[in-house]
């Protein structure tokens, strides 16, 4: 949570001589659809040039949060600032590119006409050559003059990506950008996100592909049942790690020594011990020394790094406290 620094950033936008306000800042977002609460007290921020992943199971409220950020859905409570302006002001979206989860573009226009339309709507001054490059970047260079109605779903999603990128955005919001893409397309999206980050463009990425998020995101916000279940940088979230040991002749005394180190799980003669986030570097050597001292046959010792997927599942199954 970077609320403190965010508030300072917002003031900075006003004062001019301080660092610019974050690309996204939202606080206390709430939304109910009838009796169902879709989003409940969600606050987070995306810094300039930062890539933030929004993760969570189906129905966690990720798309609702994104739509509230973009002024498409009215929050019941809460505040949103996009690039320093409140989201009720349409100008807050001047430098925002958006690929919706439900990507549909005028089927009776050609791909380049769709881009022309969005350049005009965002009042940007983008030369025709740059628009063509944008279509080429997403792999539609050969189809610029074809009607969108004849496009496959994957091509429409590629077009949506071009639409999100065409008006020189400072913030790009991608809602499930690879849902209709083949593996090559997924790699393209990853490269595009990385190149956006390199150019200082902030990205808010909602994706089910945890591997992708882990590769490209600086920070992750995990939503569950409309609430922020966990958030932080990847190092913060994945800092916790484990050690796996293959042991022979384990008695109660040995198990007790293992439990003293951390939470223990056993599968046959494999024992997994969760280690504290701040490892002093001696926990594992001390443990092995004590085990040998207790007369245990130590066959293998393997460090295990927790993947984002495991961390996400643990948070969602409430197996551990959120940081």
């Amino acid at each position: 949570m970077a609320t403190g620094t965010t508030a300072a950033g917002t003031a900075g936008g006003v004062l001019g001589d301080l660092p610019p306000s974050p690309a996204v800042w939202c606080s206390g977002l709430r939304k109910r659809y009838g009796r169902r609460t879709a989003v409940d007290d969600v606050s987070f921020s995306v810094g300039r040039g930062e890539v933030v992943g929004l993760l969570g199971p189906n129905g966690a409220g990720k798309t609702s949060v994104i739509k509230m950020l973009l002024g498409l859905v009215r929050p019941d409570a809460g505040e949103v600032l996009l690039l320093g302006r409140p989201s009720s002001d349409p100008r807050s979206r001047s430098a925002v590119g958006y690929l919706p989860e439900l990507f549909r573009y005028q089927p009776w226009l050609t791909a380049s006409e769709v881009l022309d339309l969005h350049v005009r709507l965002s009042r940007a001054d983008v030369p025709a050559e740059e628009r063509r490059e944008c279509l080429a970047l997403v792999g539609l260079a050969e189809r610029t003059g074809d009607r969108v109605g004849g496009f496959s779903k994957g091509m429409q999603q590629r077009l949506g990506l071009a639409v999100a990128l065409v008006a020189r955005p400072e913030l790009v919001v991608l809602d499930e950008p690879t849902s209709a893409l083949d593996p090559l397309g997924r790699v393209d999206v990853r490269d595009i996100v990385l190149s956006l980050r390199a150019r200082g463009v902030a990205v808010l990425l909602n994706s089910h592909l945890i591997g992708e998020v882990e590769r490209v995101c600086d920070r992750v916000v995990i939503l569950d049942r409309g609430r922020v279940a966990a958030s932080g940088t990847l190092t913060e979230l994945l800092g916790q790690h484990e050690v796996r040991l293959r042991l022979g002749e384990v008695g109660p005394q040995v198990e007790e020594r293992l439990r003293a180190t951390g939470t223990l799980t056993r599968s046959g003669d494999w024992f997994t011990v969760a280690l504290a986030a701040e490892d002093d570097g001696v926990t594992v050597p001390d443990l092995v020394r004590d085990l040998v001292g207790l007369g245990v046959h130590v066959h293998a010792v393997e460090p295990v790094r927790i993947s984002l997927e495991e961390r996400l599942l643990a948070v969602l199954r409430h197996e551990e406290a959120a940081p």
């Binding site: 973009l70 859905v73 100008r91 990507f103 549909r104 005028q106 226009l109 919001v173």
Partner: protein
């Protein structure tokens, strides 16, 4: 700027979706058929003897209203079914997401759509109506007393209906909005005819049905004004002012009614903007 961009987009959609071509083909067929029908009027053998050219002109002035009603119906149904998908349909399909996430006010998008539909509907009514008037003049030599006012009122009727269809499509599904708009248009016309019959029978209660419906939805009132502009004044004298004939109007529109129609459109458009502004996309 945004308003004009969206208006242009709406017109381009009508053209690309071949709405324009379908209407053009339909209109050419209608014009040809009506031209042939009118040519048969002169020298037509009736029970009262052969129609003279004067009588034919009189009948033509009645028929022209009937055909114009057909055009207004085409324009009304056409724009109502274009207006429905334009808001509700784009929201349902997700097309609205990418557009409304741009730095645009929803009211500008709505106004652009309205302007585009208005240009389309009014353009159609004006061109098809004028072509019909020219066909009648060429065939039987009848030219209405105030054709421009008549066509303008037909166009105004189209504007009223498309504004209503837009309001409905901001709240209900695209298909339902088209059906309800056209249904209300038909109901108001029938109420107008019922009111006319009430007037002919001297029944004030029944006559009020027409007056009230004309205030609630100004399509029928504007249509009556258009008929009055197209018809031969002689026809009214012959048929009697209280005849209750559905294709004759006994009086031109009052400026107060026109002002009410303008206010009605403004209020309904404002309500649509409000409803669209609050809608979750």
């Amino acid at each position: 700027m945004i308003v004009l961009t969206i208006a242009g987009l709406t017109l381009r959609e009508a053209a690309r979706r071949k709405v324009v071509w379908a209407l053009l083909a339909l209109t050419v067929v209608l014009l040809a058929l009506s031209g042939w029908g009118f040519s048969r009027l002169i020298g037509l053998d009736t029970e009262l003897g052969t129609l003279t050219s004067g009588e034919a002109r009189l009948v033509a002035s009645l028929l022209i209203n009937l055909i114009m009603f057909g055009f207004s119906l085409i324009a009304a149904i056409g724009t109502a079914f274009l207006a429905g998908p334009t808001l509700a349909g784009e929201v349902e399909s997700g097309q609205a997401l990418a557009v409304l996430a741009r730095p645009v006010r929803r009211s500008s998008v709505l106004l652009g759509k309205w302007l585009g539909l208005l240009t389309f509907g009014c353009g159609y009514v004006a061109l098809a109506g004028l072509a019909q008037l020219l066909v009648v003049r060429g065939v039987v030599g009848y030219w209405p007393p105030s054709p421009a006012a008549g066509l303008a009122l037909l166009a105004a009727e189209t504007i009223v209906l498309l504004t209503l269809a837009l309001l409905l499509s901001s709240a209900i599904s695209p298909m339902a909005s088209g059906i309800v708009a056209v249904g209300l248009f038909g109901a108001t016309w029938v109420a107008g005819v019922v009111g006319g019959i009430g007037g002919a029978l001297g029944n004030e209660g029944v006559e009020r049905v027409g007056s009230v419906s004309r205030v609630l939805l100004p399509t029928d009132g504007l249509w009556r004004g258009a008929m009055n502009a197209f018809q031969d004044p002689v026809a009214l004298v012959q048929m009697g002012p209280e005849g209750g004939f559905p294709f004759l109007a006994d009086a031109p529109l009052s400026p107060a009614y026109l002002a009410w129609a303008v206010l009605w459109v403004a209020v309904v458009l404002g309500l649509t903007a409000l409803s669209f502004q609050r809608r979750d996309i």
